[in-house]
């Protein structure tokens, strides 16, 4: 179950390329439904359809959801690789999407944790760490503080995003998880902080850990409305 990043993966799956994708807008029904509507009068499943004489293991909703996220992200990356010629553009696009997610995700974060402003950048680092715990269920370790205290690293032992992933050799410049720096940048920007993030190490490129470097750039002063400190 590897997530193929090979450009040809989708077509190798296309057992049924024939099917025209066709989604109905509003009330209009698709043609084939019309023609078969007479048959549709037929029978309707009565009562709850829940009862199946099956004693299989129950699916773990939380786990499934996480896999859905992982696989969806994978299919997005695969699609981007197909759409763009240049891997750099894919990295950029992923970062941008991350940014868009980040500016929304910060609201979720603040609502759930009820945390206020950060005292300093170390406090920020801890909050980012707890954000990873809440949203991805992982706790990256905070290491490698710069002497000035404006740069630190987040080290990931495991990463749900890369759970089923293997990078083919020809995509060595792809930053598969580049959505994460985007999320951090977007989220921090919403709390008046400009940060820069980049990957230093990547497990997909055979490093031991995935290391994300975060650097404080500046406080965005003008974004604070007058009268607020």
């Amino acid at each position: 179950m590897t997530f193929g990043l090979y450009a040809e993966t989708p077509s190798s799956l296309s057992v049924n390329k024939v099917y025209v994708y066709n989604i109905t807008v509003q009330v209009v029904r698709t043609r084939y439904i019309h023609t078969s509507s007479r048959q549709l009068v037929a029978r309707r499943a009565t009562g709850p359809i829940v009862n199946m004489s099956r004693t299989g293991t129950k699916l773990d909703a939380k786990k499934v959801n996480s896999e859905l996220f992982t696989l969806t992200y994978g299919s997005l990356v695969a699609q981007l690789l197909q759409d763009y010629e240049n891997v750099e553009d894919v990295n950029k696009q992923l970062e941008r999407m991350g940014y868009n997610i980040g500016i929304r995700l910060i609201e979720d974060f603040l609502a759930r944790t009820g945390s206020g402003r950060c005292y300093d950048f170390r406090d920020t680092a801890e909050k980012i760490q707890s954000g990873f715990k809440i949203f991805l269920g992982i706790t990256p370790s905070i290491t490698n503080w710069s002497p000035a205290g404006d740069e630190f690293s987040l080290c990931f032992e495991t990463n749900p995003l890369t759970e089923f992933v293997e990078l083919p050799d020809n995509y060595s410049s792809l930053k598969y998880c580049n959505v994460l720096p985007g999320v951090l940048r977007g989220a921090c920007e919403m709390v008046q902080m400009e940060v820069a993030c980049w990957f230093v190490q990547d497990q997909l490129k055979n490093d031991n850990v995935t290391e994300l470097r975060v650097k404080f750039v500046k406080r965005l002063e003008d974004a604070i409305p007058a009268g607020e400190d």
Binding site: L13, A42, I49, L59, N65, S66
Partner: protein, 175 residues
Amino acid sequence: MKQQIADSKANPGATGEADDCLFEYLHAELVNYVLSRSSNAAEGEEELSRLEWMGFSVGYRIIERLTREWSRFKDELDMIKFICTDFWSSLYHKQIDNLRTNHHGVYVLQDNAFRLLDKVGTSSSKQYLKESPRLLAFTCGLLRGSLANLGIISTVTAETTTLPSCKFHVQVQKI
């Protein structure tokens, strides 16, 4: 990375579990991206096939994971029931509310409060009705991909008339 997969099986608690809202945000970004790439937006027809395709590839893979420990399905209806109950409730937090079939390869799956439409509007609000197909295309593909990997080749379309509810029409192709 083969190593990593083996690890996660041996010790499932070690891997993180992504929060629900991440999928929703990511899905929103997918829609965003696909719309920004669709070239013939001017003609009023949105090109959602990319979105459907991504859904297909996710469905194709995820069903493999989900049915790993399940016994063999009896027949087509059994598979559809699995989709309506366990599959749907683990992906979208609720079961399909209504399943209809003509017993000749047409299934209509109705969800009265579809997760991805849930926050878009209520039955009284028609404001975003026109945009709602964008939010369904991925799931259409997801269904089609899942069924494809179960051996059912199908066409899946969606329709929505009042907002949080929608119907997925599965038309099985007879070979």
